[in-house]
Amino acid sequence: MSRRYDSRTTIFSPEGRLYQVEYAMEAIGNAGSAIGVLSKDGVVLVGEKKVTSKLLQTSSSTEKMYKIDDHVACVVAGIMSDANILINTARVQAQRYTFAYQEPMPVEQLVQSLCDTKQGYTQFGGLRPFGVSFLFAGWDKNYGFQLYMSDPSGNYGGWKAAAIGANNQAAQSILKQEYKDELSREEAVDLVLKVLSKTMDSTSLTSEKLELAEVFVSNGKVKYQVHSPDSLDKLLIKSGLTQPAAEAS
């Protein structure tokens, strides 16, 4: 019965569902996970790298983290080729805004403009929606540090801590238990690493399987910093996660 409504992204099924959108969200559930945590002096993003072949020559040091503007970065879960399109439009939007107003684009507006694009594919059609979820980390003068999560339906929301991708529900529930207001950035880094180590399918957490980035303010300027494998290793040792840690859930 519902099969008839599967192939159209823009048509409701009799039960009032948009199957293609739901399938897209399903696709993200299989992608490498990503976690973001808001702290009082910055935002921390972490991503799980799925492809870790020794032969792979990466063009950049990160495969899931993208800087969108000087004050906004994001981490992706889902189909990377779809994400590239959206990241490009996000960058264009951010630059258009600075061109018009000579000021950095407020983070929520940037997220919203991207979600408008995503939403369009659930209503006006196309072949399929974007199979991508994002976590956006940014700073602006109105609301300070912010963390947003968006999904293929075009929904978005501001979060103190959020997880997308594989095992995001498990991660989300640990975050719910462990998150404290007034976390420092250092504590936030500890928290994301801990949560990721508990929710990742692989047993050991190493720097090859991770990407970690922070957005913070130093000397009045917003900085986006990606940790090098070396500094990641140090962090992992410090938080005691280098040994095959905790049970995978």
């Binding site: 107003y101 000579q102 000021e103 507006q109």
Partner: protein, 204 residues
């Protein structure tokens, strides 16, 4: 002929404009308000072709309001000034607006500011600015007597000096002026300087 000028003082900015609506040699009206209150903390004094002036200032005002509704945060004066310049620059290569703008505003973080933007999309952040025939007198008067730490009273005295000079030296001096101020408490009309009232309605 037209006189629009403004200056930044201590914790405020003000804009002065003549209030004559003129066509050819005829004065249609001498209480035409040429300073648009853009939002709670912004003033836009404009000179130029009457229709363009009304159209353009209202267009900017509506877009500033739309931005605020959409995003829940106001545009800063700087953003508004750059937006205004962008609109003029885009129009310049299509069908230009014949409008010159003096934009004054007050922002929490940056305090008062004043922007000079003309119809060919020239953009300057300045302490004092003027457009029109009155500018020759207003600018030299302000060059001589302006200080960045002026109080409202001192600044209005300077404005009166400028008006006195315009009225005594400019052949085509307009009779009436309006002064508007913006500071931390918002944008508002401050005073009028009138030498001509509207023609009285004859008793029947």
């Amino acid at each position: 002929m037209e006189c629009v000028f403004g200056l930044v003082g201590k914790e405020f900015a003000l804009v002065v404009a003549d209030t004559s609506a003129v066509h050819s040699i005829l004065v249609h009206k001498s209480n035409e308000d040429k300073i648009m209150i853009l939002d709670s903390h912004k003033l836009m004094g404009a000179s130029g072709e009457a229709g363009d002036r009304a159209q353009f200032t209202e267009y900017v005002q509506k877009n500033v309001a739309l931005y605020q509704f959409r995003n829940g945060i106001p545009l800063t004066t700087k953003a508004t000034a750059n937006y205004t310049r962008g609109e003029l620059a885009t129009a310049l290569r299509k069908n230009p607006y014949q409008v010159n703008v003096i934009l004054a505003g007050y922002d929490q973080e940056t305090g008062p500011s004043l922007y000079y933007i003309d119809y060919i999309a020239t953009f300057h952040k300045v302490d004092k600015a003027a457009f029109g025939y009155g500018s020759y007198f207003a600018l030299s008067m302000m060059d001589r007597h302006y200080r960045p730490d002026m109080t409202v009273e001192e600044a209005v005295d300077l404005v009166d000096q400028c008006l006195a000079e315009i009225r005594s030296r400019l052949v085509v001096a307009p009779p009436n002026f309006v002064i508007k101020i913006v500071d931390k408490d918002g944008a508002r009309e401050y005073a009028w300087r009138q030498t001509v009232k509207d023609a009285p309605v004859p008793a029947v």
